[in-house]
């Protein structure tokens, strides 16, 4: 099948210098792709290129004619003087069908907050409102920029589980940028490791063992990764461990 969006040998930069050089990137229908990379690696620039906010300096970006992007930005710049409830926000950029809006607010768990000002929400509620707005545009590509900022680890794990479920329900492809490698990578079909150029790319397993990836993220992250894989892969044993701990404590006293 044709890619939803494809970047060929794209470079980008500002007056200060080059941020991305010679990047090849594509995302296919229904795929979950995660872009990882250290600060200043050009992750945000790549997203801005893909949504059309900045033109590439070189190379070309091809969008499938039926591409509909649902964009979940990292943050909004809502001045306190701008009165905007969750419900009104979901009508951006254009008014949504009322029933569909209510159903989606239910689905992501923010229905009770419909009349609530957007600026008063917690981190998790805020991201869910942003997600609901993006879904209302009926996207075939959902783009999330550091979506779990300001959430605790459990909150972000739940959020990614929701994303995976929504992908299954809507069939939309998902492109995520995140620094929370251990959580986000496990949910992905494909991981692209970026550092001004594409260092390595492939399934989470392949990228994890790539020397380029290890060189970028070092052993600290690797430890967190291992921890997560342990929790994730052995979730049944996890309970068991707890029981054992209780038992041990029991025998100890």
């Amino acid at each position: 099948m044709t890619s939803l969006i494809e970047a060929a040998a794209v470079s980008a930069g500002f007056a200060g210098g080059t941020v991305l050089r010679d990047v090849d990137f594509h995302i296919d229908p229904g795929e979950i792709v995660t872009v990882v990379g250290p600060n200043g690696s050009g992750k945000s620039t790549l997203l801005r290129l893909l949504v059309g906010a900045i033109p590439p300096r070189g190379g070309r970006i091809t969008r499938r004619p039926d591409l509909r992007v649902g964009y979940v930005p990292q943050r909004l710049s809502i001045d306190p003087t701008l009165p905007l409830t969750v419900s009104r926000f979901l009508d951006l950029p254009r008014p949504a069908d009322r029933a569909e809006k209510l159903a989606l607010m239910d689905r992501v768990g923010i229905r009770p907050l419909a009349a609530h000002p957007l600026t008063g929400l917690s981190g998790g509620q805020y991201q869910r409102a942003l997600l609901a707005r993006a879904l209302l545009t009926r996207p075939n590509l959902l783009i999330l920029d550091e979506a779990t900022q300001g959430m605790d680890q459990r909150g972000s794990a739940e959020f990614y589980a929701l994303i995976e479920a929504l992908r299954a329900e809507t069939g939309a492809a998902v492109l995520m940028v995140s620094h929370e490698l251990h959580v986000v990578m496990s949910a992905s079909d494909r991981v692209v490791c970026l550092n001004g150029h594409v260092c390595c790319e492939g399934t989470p397993e392949i990228v994890r063992s790539a020397p380029e990836y290890r060189a970028l993220f070092g052993t600290g992250t690797h430890g967190a990764l291992a921890l997560y894989r342990h929790e994730h892969d052995h979730s049944h044993e996890h309970h068991h461990h707890h029981h054992q701990q209780h038992d041990e404590r029991g025998t100890g006293t």
Binding site: G52, A53, L76, S77, D79, L82, P83, L84, T85, I143
Partner: protein, 268 residues
């Protein structure tokens, strides 16, 4: 017909209403996007525009509009801070620079010098039927353009990349906003004068904030507050012989203060 309802008062009321009803369409975005300094700079440039139009014997509206557009575009081009000066300081330099050069330019015109006060503080009681027609025509153009771009402007105010991803062009819409602002300055200079145009932009919109739970309500409430301020301000000016432009702004400020004192029940 005499007194409060004499013809010149009716013309003044119509001129004031036209500007007051158009200003909040831009005023809300000036407030939401924190462009107050920008509005000030463009408004101050109007004085230079007046001087140039009198020198070149052009209609004042055209000269003011032209200079306001040039200054607005120059500011937009310099928007990315560089050379160790912050964006607000740069706007301060441009704003007061435009005012200073404008005042000097006016001083070279023997006739205009006497009228300086009219351009700084407005001369709404002296508007002609032609001025009223220009104000309402311009106001209709501003309302039409902003109503047409409303969703796109609101979306890019909330997040420009969100607008890009929806197939809109925030740069394009910002230019439209800037041009509309220059037009409003040209219309308002006769009503409240160069020094108080920003007040007319910001104060009714800001006064509407505590009454509003949605962007659209804030716009409509701003128009209402603006219209009441224009009419009451003129009435006060007539009754107590106070300058008209400042009286209009003073009523708007009182409305703003009253709104702030209200219980915060609708602080959406």
């Amino acid at each position: 017909m005499s007194g409060l309802f004499s013809e010149f008062m009716i013309r003044a009321a119509l001129a004031g209403l036209g500007v007051a009803l158009a200003a909040p369409w831009l005023g809300v975005f000036v407030v939401w996007r924190r462009m107050a300094y920008f509005g000030d700079a463009v408004a101050h440039a109007a004085v230079l525009g007046v001087a140039l139009s009198l020198m070149l014997e052009l209609p004042v509206v055209l000269g003011v509009m032209g200079v306001a557009v040039i200054v607005a575009l120059a500011i937009a081009a310099m928007e990315t801070p560089r050379g160790g000066i912050g964006a607000d300081s740069l706007l301060g330099v441009l704003s007061h620079g435009a005012l200073a050069f404008g005042l000097i330019a006016v001083s070279f015109l023997p006739g205009a010098r006497l009228n300086l006060e009219a351009y700084l503080f407005g001369d709404i009681l002296a508007v002609s039927w032609g001025d009223v027609a220009v104000i309402w025509g311009g106001a209709a153009a501003i309302v039409g353009v902003i109503a047409w771009r409303w969703r796109a402007l609101l979306t890019s105010t909330v997040n420009p990349d969100l607008a890009w991803s929806s197939g809109m062009n925030p740069d394009h819409d910002r230019r439209i906003l800037t041009l509309a602002l220059a037009l409003l300055v040209a219309l308002a200079i006769k009503v409240v004068g160069a020094l108080l145009i920003t007040a007319l932009l910001i104060i009714p919109a800001a006064a509407a904030r505590p009454l509003s739970r949605s962007p659209e309500v804030m716009l409509v409430a701003g128009m209402g507050i603006g219209a009441v301020s224009a009419l009451c301000g003129l009435g006060l000016s007539y009754e107590f012989d106070t300058p008209a432009g400042p009286s209009i702004v003073a009523v708007a400020v009182v409305a703003f203060a009253l709104g702030r004192l209200m219980p915060a029940r609708s602080a959406a």
